[in-house]
């Protein structure tokens, strides 16, 4: 049994959300710089150049990369021999979001009563928390400020088994083509296939945390990822929908066993401001 203090969780969450909003991941920046060189469209190259320049300004001025500091999505890996003391785990995370969004001058973008009054909650809570119990005595915290733009263009389809591999590819292509510039391409496409509807969507979002461009360890899935990426980049949507050869930087697919009647396919889109940071307590 190892003790982890609620106050440490709060402070860590607060710091991670600020860092995620100011410092673009190195893997993302590297991919954007490579895209700027290979992009066919002059307007697309210019947009990519501005995105890269923006990352420098954000870091230097401690300004959020994007004004949409996102919904506060938090993934927790709780070691089954870890014991949280000094407070409730989810409450500690929520306090961390509140503190981080205040200290970092981040935008508070959550509204209550979504189908009526839509009143801002004032502190960017409540967070969206996903927790897994794992072996060990640690607590791993991964934060993902998830912007509304790309999130809004995401999709779930309960395909028929007969739709098969081709059906999955068609769904992704249609989703990206219809979204156009709205999700701020170039995208990272998270794909969740199998399980049940809820698990498929979670798999798709988790897939966005992978090191950018790392292929699936399953050869068949890696082949699917590569084919989807090539065909998505053939759509011509381009950076910010301005036309071009870089519509997506990567496709990450997570696949699980599913029901004999089902083929759930979830597509979670990540914009070019792909933000996530992690820490282990």
């Amino acid at each position: 049994m190892r003790e982890i203090k609620a106050a440490d969780i709060t402070r860590t969450v607060a710091n991670l959300f600020q860092e995620a909003n100011f410092v673009l991941g190195r893997d993302v920046l590297t991919a954007l710089k490579a895209a700027e060189k290979s992009e066919e469209s002059p307007l697309g190259r210019e947009a990519l150049g501005q995105i890269i320049k923006n990352a420098g300004v954000a870091l230097k001025a401690q300004l959020p990369l994007c004004q949409d500091c996102g919904s506060a999505v938090v993934f927790l890996e709780v070691g089954q021999d870890a014991h949280v003391t000094g407070g409730d785990l989810y409450e500690a995370v929520t306090r961390g979001v509140r503190q981080g969004y205040a200290q970092g001058y981040l935008r508070k973008s959550m509204v209550g009563r979504p189908f009526s009054a839509r009143e801002n909650t004032g502190d960017n809570t409540p967070p969206v928390i996903h927790a897994d119990i794992v072996p060990g005595n640690h607590l791993k915290i991964t934060v993902m400020p998830k912007g509304g733009g790309a999130e809004n263009m995401s999709r779930l389809a309960m395909l028929k088994p007969a739709d098969g591999r081709g059906g999955i590819i068609d769904l992704v292509l249609r989703t990206v083509a219809e979204a156009g510039g709205n999700p701020c391409p170039p995208l990272i496409i998270g794909l969740g296939v199998g399980a049940t509807s809820d698990q498929a969507m979670l798999l798709a979002k988790r897939a966005l945390l992978r090191q950018l461009g790392a292929p699936s360890t399953d050869a068949e899935v890696a082949e699917l990822e590569e084919e989807i990426l090539t065909r998505v980049n053939g759509l011509g949507v381009g950076p910010l929908g301005f036309g071009g050869s870089t519509t997506a930087l990567a496709v990450h697919a997570e696949v699980r066993p599913t029901h004999i009647a089902s083929l759930p396919v979830a597509v979670n889109l990540q914009c070019h401001s792909a933000r996530h940071k992690e820490a282990v307590l």
């Binding site: 066919e40 469209s41 307007l43 947009a47 501005q50 995105i51 320049k53 923006n54 300004v57 954000a58 001025a61 401690q62 300004l63 959020p64 990369l65 994007c66 004004q67 949409d68 500091c69 001058y105 981040l106 935008r107 508070k108 973008s109 839509r118 801002n120 004032g122 912007g147 733009g149 809004n152 292509l173 083509a177 156009g180 510039g181 709205n182 701020c184 065909r231 053939g234 759509l235 011509g236 949507v237 381009g238 910010l240 929908g241 301005f242 036309g243 071009g244 050869s245 914009c271 070019h272 401001s273």
Partner: protein
């Protein structure tokens, strides 16, 4: 490159503005000849003019845009494609839709020289702000002749698929 006065307004503010127009209520500022920027910035740090201030997705404002154009708005700035109804209204009222690059809020903040909340302060990030900008980069995405940049370039770069 845009220089001058623009007014920020997004979902919630648009709803109120159009309600005011339809119900004969008072508008917080004279819309005639003005430019609206779809943006909800982050709070400014002490000493900063404004926080991060990039564009939000224009499509969500589509339903509110024709009445605002009819009331005199001459330009709107956002990101992403617009509906046919908006493009027709832009032609009818001789207004333009400009696209700024999404997700470069820190860079665009450097173009904002003055910022002041002038309406709906209760909306926080969604309040109407009067901004003075200098050399704000944007491109014409839909013009008074019905041209749509997003449609044109997509056809140009599409292959196989």
């Amino acid at each position: 490159m845009l220089s001058g006065v623009i007014y920020t307004a997004r979902d919630a503010a648009h709803k109120r503005l159009v309600q005011a127009l339809e119900g004969g209520g008072e508008l917080p500022f004279d819309l005639g000849g003005q430019t609206i920027y779809y943006s909800g910035p982050t709070p400014a740090r002490p000493g900063q003019v404004i926080g991060s201030a990039g564009p939000t997705t224009s499509a969500r404002m589509d339903v509110y845009t024709p009445p605002l154009l009819a009331a005199g708005v001459r330009a709107v700035i956002g990101k992403g494609g617009r509906s046919t109804a908006v493009k027709e209204a832009l032609q009818q009222y001789k207004a333009v839709y400009l696209a700024a690059v999404g997700g470069i809020g820190a860079l665009l903040a450097q173009c904002v020289k003055e910022a002041e909340v002038i309406a709906y302060p209760d909306l926080g990030a969604e309040a109407v702000r009067r901004l003075v900008v200098a050399d704000f980069p944007a491109i014409v995405a839909s013009d008074i002749y019905g041209e749509d940049l997003y449609v044109r370039v997509n056809a140009e770069y599409r292959r196989g698929g």
